[in-house]
Symmetry: C2
Subunit: 341 residues, 2 copies
């Protein structure tokens, strides 16, 4: 089973590069919080002894352009805070080895004020030398599980996720299987970062919450439409589950405290000012989500069904727009700032 | 004008990945010298103060697999020398932004004993933070010039390189233009590395010498064949020049001493045991060289002529084999070990 789920690569119409405005909104909405975390909670003098290189990582960077905005923002705020210290910045863009690093590297901003580097590999494992990182950033990434909870693949179990492609709220067994996988993954994640990040170093997460859970199911309902028309076997949909869990503040607090290596400095649910209201915006959103999900759909159903499902979901833009308007208040994101003890 | 000349990318028949045996021979032939340089001349205790991360860069790494052998060798020898010190290794694979980093990352050895990272950019400029590198390695790369000496592009000048695609020995003006560009490039190269490498840090070069100068001209003679058959305009060949200068020990000594930031620890002309003797081997060699030159040929002549030239040069394998046998003694490579003062 594949355990890596890259965004659509390259620079084409359905690429992540051209379809990641939604993820940009999330980053924009938390810019002030990233700023507050750095200004209020970070102490460079303690972290840097002889060296003057401040090392930043972006975990799950994908292929840009969002990661460039996020990294430059971190650099700018640290520079602003320590304007009297000569610092050099080294940014490590990290994502799975299947990520399209060629596109990432070819799009690096010319006017960047840091040394750029790419690091291939899963963040559910070690990526950097011990105590070498001062600031870790991860946006729209930690909700990716290392794998589908294996209980979901047993047709005879109560965790068989019938008719759905993600956890809803109706089947608590399914929800619990997702939570258990998330907790396991985060323990491994925190143990790796605890080695890599210097004492006093900081880690921020920006993670979509709630509205995403429902929105991905519009792709699920397109799949079920194909089942109802006899064009697709239902067991194939039942056995397809998205490897994502969107943590609540309670989930996050639990995994951080259980691990014990990091202190929680800030945690907040934010309501980004989403511009996604009318039908055109809903279309943009679906194309945006396609750049994230298409690889998974192709992997499980083949490219013909994947194409059909994406096209059909696009036809639901009016329904999605109506749902988004009605649920605008639920379009939240989780911001977390942690510090290495 | 393009200033980056990537090897053929991907993993296909004419890719550099599958056609770099010759470059591997060069690396293999200097393994003992790399070893001697590390064992005899490197002092880790002086370089590493609080950190235990030993940082290695490969400049002009291309897409593998040679760079993996070279980097693992450096790691192994440093580990052997400092077996009583706990060291972690971080390797930065660096090449032009057009290099195929996706292939490089996807071919990283699973059993590597270092943290891997890719750094896009020209080594004729800064790539890393100040004093962050302990060991720099560059094989078959420093002979690449940042650009064609501009004097070669003036049809009315004595440096107009008529009928040739590289410097021979007949036109001293052409040779001097190449040398001047090499000296300019190396000054910029050394100044950048002098900032990046810690005092006591080491840099090794492995560079092909002499035989290459003649061998690339077999591609030149295929171009001239097309000219003589009326299929190609001669001025197009005259204006095409390979951006490479293969330095002699004297050239190298001159640029190192002029720069002044590095001391020469070892310098040697080596005769690698080349297995290239019969016609089949000559064919392998031409396909090997194609992976290096094809991008340049396509860029100047278009893909149709490039294909034709490569095919025609392959037909000269007997002639090339004869020449290689007769000139076996001239198939040399330059090994240089420098230390940051």
């Amino acid at each position: 089973m594949t355990t890596s789920f890259p965004m659509n690569d390259g620079n084409s119409a359905y690429s992540y590069f051209n379809n990641s405005q939604r993820q940009k909104e999330l980053i924009d909405a938390s810019k002030d919080m990233v700023r507050d975390a750095i200004i209020g909670k970070l102490d460079v003098e303690v972290m840097l002894s002889s060296s003057h290189t401040f090392r930043i990582i972006d975990l799950g960077c994908s292929i840009g352009p969002n990661t460039f905005h996020a990294m430059q923002h971190v650099v700018d705020v640290v520079k602003e805070k320590y304007h009297n210290i000569i610092l050099e910045f080294q940014v490590f863009f990290s994502d799975h080895v299947e990520n399209d690093f060629n596109t990432l590297f070819r799009s690096l901003p010319i006017d960047r004020s840091y040394y750029a580097s790419g690091v291939p590999g899963s963040f559910h494992g070690r990526l950097f030398p011990t105590r070498s990182i001062h600031f870790a950033h991860s946006s729209c990434a930690i909700h990716w599980l290392s794998k589908i909870p294996k209980e979901l693949l047993d047709e005879k179990s109560p965790t068989w996720n019938k008719g759905l492609i993600h956890y809803g709220t109706s089947n608590i067994e399914v929800v619990n299987a997702y939570i258990a996988q998330f907790e396991k993954d985060m323990e491994i994640f925190f143990n790796a970062r605890a080695e890599e990040i210097v004492p006093g170093g900081m880690m921020v997460f920006i993670s979509p919450f709630s509205s995403y859970i429902r929105l991905v199911e519009f792709f699920g309902s397109s799949l079920m439409d194909l089942v109802n028309e006899g064009k697709l076997d239902e067991s194939l949909v039942d056995s397809f589950n998205l490897p994502m869990y969107f943590p609540s503040p309670q989930d996050m607090t639990k995994v951080v405290e259980k691990n014990g290596c990091f202190s929680i400095e800030f945690m907040e649910l934010v309501y980004p000012k989403s511009k996604l209201v009318d039908e055109t915006d809903a279309k943009t959103f679906i194309i945006n989500l396609r750049a994230v999900l298409e690889g998974l759909l192709i992997n499980h159903f083949g490219s013909k069904i994947a194409e059909e499902v994406c096209a059909r979901t696009l036809l639901k833009s009016e329904e999605i727009s109506t749902w988004m308007k009605a649920n605008g208040g639920k379009s939240r994101q989780l911001f977390v700032a942690l510090k290495r003890k």
